[in-house]
Every structure is written in C-alpha cells, then in structure tokens.
C-alpha cells in the first residue's frame, strides 16, 4: 500500500471507506515473529517464536539483525492462573496490553473472588483497542495478541489485532509467514477437539515450524510454549522444558519450507 492523503491520522476516512492508519498498524503486527494458538475440549495452547535481535532501523522496512549478545524476547505472558497471552508485532505495545489484562483479571478477582470469564477479557480488550482507533492524537496498538484461557465455558483461544477485531478461534496464527501455519491448522482442524494436551502442543509446534524459512528450525532457545486447561493452571515453558516437546516434533518430517507453502497433512 502506498502513501496517500488520507493516511495521516486515524480519524480520517479514505474515500474507499478505509482507515489507513489502522491498516498500517496491522502491517506492524504482520512483521512480528509468529505465534500459534490452538484449543481442544479441555486445553488451550499457545506457542511463539522468540527472536534474539533488535530493530536497528525503524523505517517502513524493518530490518533485523541476529545478535548473539541479546537474549531472546519474552513473547508469552501469564495473565492469571487460568489464562495467558502471546504477542506478535511491537512487543513493547504488547507488554502494555498484557499488563492491562493482568490488572483486569486481578480487579475482577477483587470484587468477585473468582477468575474472570474469558469473554469478559475479550470485551475489555476490544474496548481498549477500539478506543485508539477513534480519537485524534492516539495511535492503534501495533501488536496482535492471542489470549489462551480456560473457564466455566471451556477452553478459549481469542485473537485480537490492532483494528480491534476480537474473535474467538479454534486455532489461529499471527505474525510473519503465519499463513503457512494457518494452512496447517486448517488441514488438521478436525483433530484438535479431542487431542490430548501433549498432542495439542505438538500440533501447535508443527504449525509454528511451518512459518520458518527452510534453513531455520525450532529450538529450545527460540520457542516458548504456554498451556492452560481443565485442572491445569497456566504453565509457561521455556528452554529445557520446551526441548522435551521439540523431541516429539522432530519425529515428524518437514514437508514445507516457509515460503514454499503447501504442506502434506502431517500423519499423527
């Protein structure tokens, strides 16, 4: 998309009925490293690619440099014992939203002495994101979030993006090259409902692996896993704990290489 006279601030409509600033914010989300979320009847899983780099030039084309000096960025946050989020895009914006959700959870518990319904979290996010798309002088959050949660209504995966679209999903992926992951999810969607937590994690990691270019691979350092479910408080896995699940994944041959797309369905 090209610059035009209707994209200077978020309060200006284009003649085609579009808000360009919001669309540009969605682009920022699409540049972030990928994350995948899937739910079964009893659990919700989110996995994310952590990158060990930093933006050294903020232009329209973000440039990244792999940097051995920096640690991997934290992409998954625990929100409460029954939910967690993963973020893709401007991670600093994402942290603000994660903290907002944490305070929503905690203030609900203060009043009602029980965990917040995930639908309420989704509604609060929706209002917070939408506000930044309608007032002069504010900018949309440049980040997409996947909320994983478990409440009385079962497991939830909620996808949000800078346009304030907040949607409940069976499985989804956002971030760079996430279309490959979504293709994997679409092909295997019938398997998720009855999957065990371990199987669900493997599905999510396989979907995440499809977003990587051929020469790269999932590793214990660049992958985070979050899982929550029935009788199972939110648990964030990093490093050694991730390696255990990656061993399962490596038994599945890779038939897609990022940009090439088009995967054969994985035989589980």
């Amino acid at each position: 998309m090209f610059r035009n006279q209707y994209d200077s601030d978020v309060t200006v409509w284009s003649p085609q009925g579009r808000l360009h600033q919001v669309e540009y914010a969605v682009e920022a989300m699409k540049q972030g490293s990928a994350t995948v979320g899937i739910k079964s009847e009893t659990h919700a899983v989110i996995v994310a690619l952590k990158v060990d780099d930093f933006f050294f030039s903020i232009t329209l084309f973000f440039q990244r440099a792999q940097n051995e000096l920096s640690s991997h960025q934290k992409k998954i946050y625990e929100i409460d014992t029954h939910s967690g989020v993963s973020i893709a895009g401007l991670l600093s914006d994402g942290r603000i939203l994660a903290r907002f959700l944490q305070t929503e959870c905690s203030s609900w518990r203060w009043d009602y002495k029980q965990p917040v319904p995930i639908k309420k979290l989704a509604e609060s996010m929706q209002l917070k994101l939408q506000a930044n798309t309608q007032y002069y002088g504010r900018r949309p959050f440049g980040v997409g979030i996947l909320i994983a949660g478990y409440d009385k209504d079962g497991a939830h995966i909620i996808q949000t993006d800078p346009s304030a679209e907040v949607v409940s999903m069976h499985g989804t992926s956002i971030g760079a090259r996430s279309q490959s992951a979504r293709t994997y999810l679409e092909r295997n969607v019938d398997k998720f409902e009855k999957s065990s937590p371990e199987e669900l994690i493997v599905h999510a990691l396989l979907a995440l692996r499809d977003t990587l270019p051929a020469e790269e691979n999932l590793s214990a350092q660049n992958t985070s896993i979050g899982i929550v479910g029935k009788d199972s408080p939110f648990n964030l896995l990093d490093d050694a704990q991730v390696a255990v699940h990656l061993n399962q994944v490596s038994t599945h041959p890779r038939t897609t290489a990022g940009a090439q797309g088009g995967a054969e369905p994985m035989q589980m």
């Binding site: 009043d111 009602y112 009385k152 209504d153």
Partner: protein, 236 residues
C-alpha cells in the same frame, strides 16, 4: 464541606427490617423473614417482602434500612446484566464478593449502606451439572464484615437463635431435608416473636434449590404460645 451544608451521609436507618434466618440443607438453602418493616418501634408497613430474587441461583434477604435495600436491588440488577454480557448467570459467591467490596467501601467513607445482607443460593461448580452444585450462605454486615456459614440468624435473632439452630444442625447436618430445615426455621421464628419487639407473626420462607431454582415463599402466620401471660402480668 461547609458547616451550613446538610449532612450528606447516612447517620441512622429509617424504616427497618429485623432478623433473617437461613439454613442450608442437602440440595439448597431456606431463608425465613417476617413481613413487617418498622419505623422505630412502630410496625409501620406490613405485607412487605424482605427477600429479593436475583436470578435462578441466588436469593438475597435483608435486615436494616428498607430504602437502602431497595436501592441495592438496582445495583444488583446492573451486576446481573453485566454478567449476562458474558452469557453467565452471576452466582451467589460472586455476588457476595461484590457486595462485600461495596459495603466495605461505603463504611470506609463513613456513609454505610445500613443493611445486614444474607446472600443465599446454589453455587454451580461445573457448567450445567446440578449434581455438583453446592448450597451457599454468605452474610455481609453494614460495616462490610463478610463471612460464609452453613446457617445464620441476624439481628436480634443472632442473640436468640444461633444456638438453637446450631443444635438442630448438629443433629443432622448436611443431611437435612428441605422439610427438616423449614421446621427448624419455623421453630426459631417463635422465639423472635416472644422476645423481639419489632418482629411480627406473619412471615415467609423462601428457598433456593439446585433442582427447583428460586422459589419465593407464601405468607404464613404463626400464633405462638402466650399462656405465660396468665402467670406473668395479671392477664385475665
């Protein structure tokens, strides 16, 4: 605040209700209240219900200022609607928690909601599974002191009845049937009738049951045994 401004906080209650007695049984909770609202010691308004149905799982009864409770009903209704936005029916524990925060906050501002509230209901532990529901009684005083109990008597009933109800409870405990529980309540009411000058003999027993939902009570009357009057005070 100017010394000439009117006082903008509650100093004392106006029209009041007296004791509330509530008791858990196997599948729910029964609540007894009389049907009079007093203006000081005068029995001013009769045929008044002191119980309010929140939804199919929760019933709330009050003692204390009637106007404050009437206002509280609107606040509760707004909470019910808020939860409905998430396709949920507010449960007794959540409502109890919310009202606790509310009453405590008001007491901290030295402007209390002058009520003792009894939140009675059935708490759903698992969605759509009545087998696992548990009965709930939560009490909140006007100072914001809140606690959960298996049975309670508030107001003057606290002095007169808690032991009597406790004795009955110890006999059968959680295995009380609804009829047993109601019998205990009716026996308790007699005591307040003899000793509480703002109690009345017309009463209602409401219940929340896991299988039936909330069933508000019909008016009932009790006479009591006044034969003591003949020996007591030159009564002919």
């Amino acid at each position: 605040m100017n010394a000439h401004d009117e006082v903008q906080r509650t100093l004392n209650p106006t029209c009041t209700g007296t004791s509330v007695i509530a008791l858990q049984y196997k599948t729910g909770v029964v609540v007894l209240t009389d049907r009079v609202v007093s203006y000081g010691k005068m029995a001013r308004y009769k045929n008044v219900s002191r119980q309010y149905k929140v939804n199919d799982n929760v019933l709330i009864a009050f003692g204390g200022d009637h106007a404050d409770f009437h206002w509280l009903q609107n606040v509760i209704e707004r909470q019910v609607l808020l939860w409905k936005r998430f396709d949920q029916d507010i449960g007794p524990k959540a409502l109890h928690g919310y009202l606790t925060s509310l009453l405590y906050a008001r007491r901290c501002k030295m402007n209390p909601i002058w009520n003792t509230l009894v939140v009675a209901g059935v708490e759903e532990e698992e969605k759509n599974n009545k087998e696992t529901s548990t009965p709930f009684i939560g009490v909140i005083t006007q100072k914001g002191c809140a606690y959960q109990v298996k049975h309670i008597a508030t107001g003057l009933g606290a002095f007169l009845l808690n032991q009597a109800v406790e004795d009955e409870w110890r006999k059968k405990g959680e295995n009380l049937s609804r009829e047993d529980a109601e019998a205990v309540l009716r026996k308790s009411l007699e005591l307040t009738l003899y000793h509480d000058c703002v109690a009345d003999n017309e009463f209602e027993i409401g219940r929340v049951d896991a299988n039936e939902g909330v069933v508000l009570g019909n008016e009932e009357k009790i006479i009591g045994d006044w034969s003591i009057a003949e020996t007591n005070c030159q009564y002919e």
